[in-house]
């Protein structure tokens, strides 16, 4: 799983029927400084995440099939949590970061 931020929402009028019921959100992985870093991908949301929120994303197709109950859903990324805070262990925070992010 990765820490990511929701940065947008996709509108698709024509897509695989298995995907029909889900909101498609754009997520970008976060680096150690909690800034966007890496490839922007599309995830479905199971926790009511909104644009701008930090989230926990699982990136594995079998997890997606389990959580949706659809064994033919062509998808890997699912938002499975909203991350309120990241607390570093004492002395482990990257330079310039506070212990709570």
């Amino acid at each position: 799983m990765i820490l990511a931020r929701v940065i947008g929402m996709v509108t698709s009028s024509d897509k695989d029927p298995e995907l029909g019921a889900y909101k498609l959100l754009v997520v970008v992985p976060l680096g150690l400084d909690l800034e966007a870093e890496g490839e922007e991908t599309i995830a479905i949301d199971r926790v009511g995440a909104g644009i701008g929120e930090r989230v926990l994303v699982v990136r594995e197709g079998n997890a997606a099939r389990q959580i949706t109950g659809r064994d033919k859903i062509p998808l890997q990324n699912v938002i499975v949590g909203v991350v309120d805070d990241v607390n570093w262990l004492e002395g482990r925070a990257p330079a310039g970061r506070q212990e709570r992010g």
Binding site: I7, G8, M9, K15, D16, E39, E40, I42, K72, Q76
Partner: protein
Amino acid sequence: MQFARVLGRLVSTRKVAPLEGYRLLWIQPTDARGHAEGEPLVAVDAGQYGEGEWVTYVTSREASLPLRDTFCPVDAAIVGKIDFVDFADGERVTSPTATREAGA
């Protein structure tokens, strides 16, 4: 699922049986704003999604799930057409303009 724009269509008359009847599209991955990012690849068009110029595709094992034979040798499939993406600041990106710039 990732973003890509469609560059072209492949012609392949001889291919493995599970791929018969499916279109193969040459696609360029993009970011969420439609800017090219990464290496081009070939993906099966699981619907008629490739008629649009901006699509979403899925890789790996999940690529075969929309096909009639899910035991199919593919690693990328187009599973939707993207109409637009809305961002936090209110910006709406409807299509990657780079498609036309590239003359594809």
